[in-house]
Subunit: 190 residues, 2 copies
DNA sequence: TGCAGATGATACGAGAGTGTCTCGTACGAT
DNA sequence: ATCGTACGAGACACTCTCGTATCATCTGCA
């Protein structure tokens, strides 16, 4: 369970808590602090030693999520590719993360820094949308806010459909891209 | 506050409660039973006289929502029109209801009858998707579940974008229909 | 006038969740 | 061996919410 060598300052309990919280809250967003401690194999007091509040823990999880998402996107994106290609790669990278972070979608994060970071993510998506428009992949007359909202929704919807088994995982990113760029109308030869 | 003539069996308190609950929970889904009573201008005891539980009240609201949605759709839909035209009219009818019932989207309704009714609504959407496919407005190779999920999401996303002022109310239904059927790619002459 | 039903105000107890504190223990470094 | 740190376990008080019970009041109606 534990790696012997760990360069980071505090290795064990904190990580176990974070892991348990993600697992547990993914299934039951209302789960108690005590339950989190239980699933982490940790005393409730210890949990409070690491995270003052439920909000505190939630905020840390949100930050981890944002960071992990940023990394996934950065790895997947190839700046030399077309914007629409980048879009699909972004979907491919991010949709699977829904499994871990779906509960954050409904959580209300009060922390300023976190919401600011989230806003920056959306801004970056907005930039991508701008490139899509410049490239002619997205019509210029559609409000950018609408496109961004669609991309955001598509990520969660795609993950949700995959998670419930109604859509194959391999198809999800393609369907999302297609839905956004071409809609679901009858395909003319692409 | 109270209208003198009221044909329905129980006119005043119950309606005030329902109204207050919708208003309040739309803004704050975690609002307390006491707060609902307060905003309804009603004693907390009275609230309990009309609705045993929070769940009880929530279930009633969900049923009202479903009923209201069904009515709106039934009024808007014109069976002689094309399926894609019906789709847009459905969007037009349902998106504004988001204002009142957005909180239900995140609520967990346990009641069997209500969830069954909700499922029937989704089934009806599924039927519409079938017609869209038959009509050639939607490609046959796209999973119906995916299309239904998209329609469901589009309703909430559209309402949300309108509510936050990022998209004009008049454009919402059009954008939703266009997004679903044609995507947001550059328009070929329609 | 007098009755019945609905209501408001209030109090009460139960239960859940939370935050804090203490105590004894295990482990590693010095 | 000793010290410091992190830990588990448990106790405790506090708050919040809920569901119920009680009682006085108000209203409409006979």
């Amino acid at each position: 369970m534990r790696s012997a060598l760990n360069p980071s300052p505090r290795p064990t309990a904190r990580d176990a808590i974070i892991d348990a919280a993600i697992r547990l809250w993914s299934r039951n967003p209302g789960a108690t602090f005590s339950e989190v401690a239980l699933h982490a194999g940790v005393g409730r007091a210890t949990l409070h030693r690491h995270f003052r509040n439920r909000d505190d823990l939630l905020t840390v999880l949100a930050e981890i999520c944002i960071e992990e998402t940023n990394e996934a996107v950065a790895t997947a994106i190839d700046r030399s590719a077309s914007a629409s290609r980048q879009l699909q790669r972004m979907f491919e990278a991010v949709i699977p993360l829904g499994d871990r972070y779906s509960f954050l979608y409904r959580a209300e994060i009060g922390d300023e820094h976190t919401t600011a970071e989230y806003r920056r993510q959306l801004d970056r998506v907005g930039t991508l949308v701008g490139e899509l428009k410049a490239e002619g992949a997205v019509a210029a007359d559609v409000p950018t806010a609408w496109v961004v909202a669609q991309i955001d929704q598509l990520i969660w919807t795609a993950w949700n459909e995959v998670a419930s088994g109604r859509v194959a995982a391999a198809d999800a990113a393609y369907l999302a891209t297609r839905t956004l760029l071409h809609g679901l109308g009858k395909e003319e030869q692409p």
